[in-house]
Amino acid sequence: MRLLYYPGCTLYSKAQNLDRCGRKTAERLGVTLDELPSWNCCGAIFNTGSDDLAGQVGPVRVLAKASQLGDKLVTLCAACYNVLKRARARLDAPGNKLERQRIVEFLDEKMERDVKVVHYLEVLKQDIGWEAIRSRVVMPLHNLKVASYYGCLMVRPREVLDFDDPDNPMVMDELVATLGGEPVRFEFKTECCGGYLVVNRREVAEGCSMRVVDNARNWGAELIVTTCPLCQYNLEIAQKRGRAEAQIVPVLYFTQLLGLALGLPQKDLGFEDNKLDPVGFLKEKGLL
């Protein structure tokens, strides 16, 4: 199976481990992710102002580019998923015909068809299937208690994203169980990490992130998995700055955990880019 793939800005630099593990695990599972040629940044956050058409041009251009090559676009980054999907919905809203016409006419790229934006987790569940993934696990994550942290961008706004149960999404938990691990129930799986407030109000973002980490830890999590480079950064850096080593819960991208279970070589897992080195912990657990 070949699928069109949109990496986005952060996966080309600070989150190369999310990108590389995504591509390599897909390969192991029989899926080739074909990178969308000459893509541009989606904008990283969705602009909601009703007259703010300029903010829509970036993501709509990505959709137009993709429409020339396929009818489905896969994302790995939760923010790209959120922005592209909301741009798609805004374009398609019945009251927005004039706006759609103005943006589409502004672009050089022709909108050939309505591209569906999907997340790699949806590909794993719906296109590949848990059974097929389970059959390829070479390093089962036995006795590993994992909290799946979805954050905001995967599930809200609920009527547009329609990703999973918006209050209690389970896709990543199902993946953890498929890989032999033990999904941890915790209340804060869709609470905000503080997001981009880390740029100018770090203490506020850290407060949000620590609440998520503490909640997961109180429910017994030994490891947290994320889908978003900003969640990943916030959860790691807040702990690094504010917690004693003994209390730290390592944080991995879900693709890193998947890669570990599928037996990717350690050089492809990209642990050196994690802010909290998970290698010691994973060795202790017999996973490395």
């Binding site: 986005g8 800005c9 952060t10 630099s13 600070k14 989150a15 940044c41 904008g43 990283a44 956050i45 969705f46 602009n47 909601t48 102002g49 009703s50 007259d51 703010d52 903010g55 980054c77 923010a79 905001c152 809200r156 706004p157 609920r158 918006p166 609470e191 905000c192 503080g194 997001g195 981009y196 407030l197 880390v198 740029v199 100018n200 109000r201 770090r202 506020v204 973002a205 407060g207 949000c208 609440r211 480079p229 900003l230 950064y233 850096i237 802010k275």
Partner: protein, 129 residues
């Protein structure tokens, strides 16, 4: 600007696509906001200020700049009011007077070196002219 408070509230309604009068002040939004006590005014109080025509007070407040767009407030609102969009409309009114709250030229001290691009782009799009 020289607009009446009523005109400004109307502009916020158009920019946000929300009706200010729809809010009946149950406070669900403020209770669920992850920024919590740091946000002043919190969502329900901010909407109350608009209902009372105290627009300038809200535009001068810090609260509208402390939103991370997590959308919990609007998701939980029993009246379907999306405060994140109202806050964005308020920010747009301020930003369109050419006043940035986050200045990309001064915001990058060494401890932000590792911050993902995504955070900078999002922050500048929400908080800078």
């Amino acid at each position: 600007m020289n607009r009446t408070p009523e005109e400004m509230v109307r502009e916020i309604e158009i920019l946000s696509g929300q009706r200010i009068a729809d809010c009946y002040q149950c406070g669900c939004c403020s209770a669920g906001c992850p920024i919590g006590t740091a946000m002043e005014p919190p969502p329900s109080k901010a909407i109350r200020l608009l209902q009372l025509g105290r627009v300038e007070e809200l535009l001068e407040s810090e609260g509208i700049w402390l939103c991370a767009s997590c959308l919990v407030c609007g998701t939980r609102c029993p009246r379907g009011v999306d405060y994140a969009r109202i806050a964005e409309a308020c920010r747009l009114l301020v930003l369109r007077t050419k006043r940035s709250v986050v200045d990309p030229d001064v915001v990058v001290p060494a401890d932000l070196e590792d911050v993902p691009q995504q955070a900078f782009i999002a922050s500048f799009r929400k908080f800078s002219v």
